[in-house]
Point group: C2
């Protein structure tokens, strides 16, 4: 076989396919890594997905894995790690000049678990400043005038552009679902507290989760099992009649009209395919979640960053100083506790709503990735679900008027991650 | 004034008194630090509270504060930090040989907030291995054959022995309340998620909190405000008729008989002083909280420590390997989620119970600090409340048959920390 053709194929393969080929002896780990490095070499100047990339180190890891037996279910699968997450053998800068060149002494839990399963850490992907709003260098892979979304900008761009099949991001507001949707990826935000955060720079711990980015539902399900230290389990069959709640939310008027029509059409197609699709109107108080999210996240963030505020104020962007830090430093414990208690009350109400639905479907953002690199886009379409601690997944279901990806967001009840994957597979089968 | 007498007084003063004296020009920060260092020099060989102590650096901090204006409400107050918490200018070893000599690049949020308020970091206090069970070198200040309790062993011993007026610990099970009770301190575990954890080595994030150790209720209330970045507020007056629920729990049969009689007597004294004291029997399902705690904490802990498991297995104690790690690695996500959901359900039931009580009163442990240094004591008396995310405080209310301290634990509803301080002040007035 022509090795360059083979190499091109490998970087486009899913993690599941790569692991299967490597385990069967049909490809070496080194082949996979070289295919990904080739793609990166070609595309990185335009995309800027990587904060740190050391091809020799990636190849050395691959060769070591080729010499060893199969370590686990990600054996030979290259992955990227958002540069807000510690790695013992690569610098970790948290998207801030304060930490340029910083070298953690240990891997974050999610990095160690990925490696234990045989994954190959390709490098560190670009994050916004401290996973907040101030953008990094990454551009949208299909239109360099546009944002890739944030804060897991490099993770989504790298996966969407076939540089790696898997990447880890984080989500405190919209930081996984939004960039994954913009870049045409599958993005998964787990039930809060399922996946461990040791070694991830905390933004707002009561909201933070990891976020997994891939190009198939099967790959995020596989990666979740790896990060839980579970033996991988196949995705279950969907219910005989999938119950889908179409949840436009109070933000519907902000959704691009073409995107609105894509979602309406999708609801009809799902119904024609046998799903029970019904409109869901959330109680009016759910409109106040964004406000609660603002106070919870900014209160926690601003206290967590006291060292940087006290020692490195001049190296913090104006966007962060005048945004989340200003909000947070002005927020009292009383206001914080009120917002936190309100969120907890709504979580219980949302649990009750899920008695009637397997999943809710909603927009992942307000439209295609917007023009301009100063903003990473509207976060409100995810802030609701993030604050509710529920799992969510975005599927690259549609294309917008500029030919760019639009996501379909599915949301499930807390602890319903695996049932959400089953539903997502069925929705993918019908729509994608 | 004879300086040696003055010095002896200063190390025995409360944080509130020290801050007041320094602000009034009645003592210099350096005087306070020297008084504490003198006490440490005298007592440290017997107690072993400190993992890292650099007298010159402490004096240098004090002199810098003496030159500057008053920075905040802890100006001139020496404090100790459990060595599970990062400090930019002192090594942080997490109680493990794996991290001996490790130097973090930044202060944890709680350290930076303490310093911003003018506190003087005296050094790092001894922790058990990764805030788990394997003990450090610390001995009980009043009987060196006995454990000081754990995991915040050095923090409690240092405060109890008048080496510093304040120290920070953490609590995932019993790690603040238990050692504080054993060492005759006031120990405070806040409502879960009130005080920020950035820079604290995570054990089990959904249970972990900071813990504050002092020698008065006023000092922990002051320190809480500092760590919230709040302007300090006086403790409110207690309700006209304090409603106290005497909650023996299903563990009562494990409580030392003398301790039982002290608690029974205290309930009567509080009633005679005007409180409404009633017995509270928790529903039987609360007996299963310890089991839920076991699975939640060990599942989270074991995944968080993947890097250490993979790279440093031989440097992990047998106690940790065969205890929490074995439990955790054998715990499935399904069992973890079941335990987590069960705990959430009981939190709501406990909220309802608190409709009738301002505080519950309970034992802080099963008795005085036990003989022997291999174990840090029974953790069950705190595991209940830790898992419930409620605030708790232990007061040095009693003395046991060996002349050692016994704590009275008060527990309040979630977010009721300030009302708990008001109740604790009233209970202190009556009992202590």
């Amino acid at each position: 076989m022509d090795t360059s053709v083979r190499a091109r194929r490998l970087n486009e393969s899913s993690a599941t396919e790569v692991a299967k080929m490597v385990a069967a002896g049909e490809a070496r780990c080194e082949d996979v890594v070289r295919a990904c490095l080739e793609r990166i070499a070609e595309r990185e100047p335009a995309v800027g997905a990587w904060q740190h990339l050391d091809p020799d180190h990636a190849i050395a890891q691959a060769r070591a894995l080729d010499r060893a037996g199969v370590r686990g279910p990600l054996h030979g699968v290259p992955f990227g790690i958002k540069d807000i997450i510690d790695t013992h053998d690569m610098p970790t800068g948290y998207g801030s000049p304060i930490y340029a060149g910083h070298r953690p002494v240990a891997d974050a839990a999610c990095v160690a678990l990925s490696r234990k399963a045989g994954g190959i850490l390709m490098g560190k992907t670009v994050t916004t400043e401290f996973a907040n709003r101030y953008p990094g260098k990454t551009r949208h892979p299909r239109d360099s005038r546009r944002t890739p979304g944030g804060s897991s900008s490099g993770s989504a761009a790298a996966v969407g552009d076939h540089m790696v099949p898997l990447a880890i991001g984080t989500q405190t507001t919209a930081s996984t679902i939004r960039p994954a949707a913009f870049c045409g990826c599958v993005g998964y935000r787990p039930t809060w507290s399922d996946l461990r955060m040791h070694g991830v720079r905390e933004a707002a711990g009561s909201l933070d989760t990891l976020g997994l980015i891939a190009r198939s539902v099967g790959d995020v399900a596989l990666y979740r099992d790896v990060l839980l230290r579970n033996a991988p389990q196949p995705i279950a069959a969907p219910p005989a009649r999938l119950r889908v709640g179409f949840c436009r939310t109070h933000l519907w008027r902000l959704v691009d009209p073409v995107y609105q029509s894509r979602l309406e059409d999708a609801a009809q197609r799902l119904a024609r395919a046998g799903a029970a699709v019904a409109d869901v109107d959330l109680p009016a108080e759910f409109e106040r979640i964004e406000d609660a999210h603002r106070w919870i996240s900014s209160f926690e963030f601003s206290r967590n960053f006291t060292h940087e505020i006290e020692h490195h104020w001049e190296k913090i962007s104006a966007a962060l100083r005048n945004g989340r830090l200003k909000d947070g430093l002005g927020c009292s414990i009383e206001r914080y506790v009120e917002a936190r208690s309100f969120a907890e009350t709504l979580r219980l109400k949302l649990d009750a709503i899920f008695a009637d639905y397997d999943v809710l479907m909603a927009a992942s953002a307000d439209g295609e990735a917007p023009l301009g690199l100063d903003s990473t886009g509207n976060a409100a379409f995810c802030a609701i679900w993030t604050t509710m601690h529920v799992p969510a997944i975005t599927l690259p279901a549609f294309t917008g008027s500029n030919g760019l990806p639009l996501g379909l967001q599915l949301i499930a009840r807390r602890n319903g991650d695996r049932r959400m994957f089953a539903a997502a597979s069925e929705v993918w089968r019908v729509l994608c």
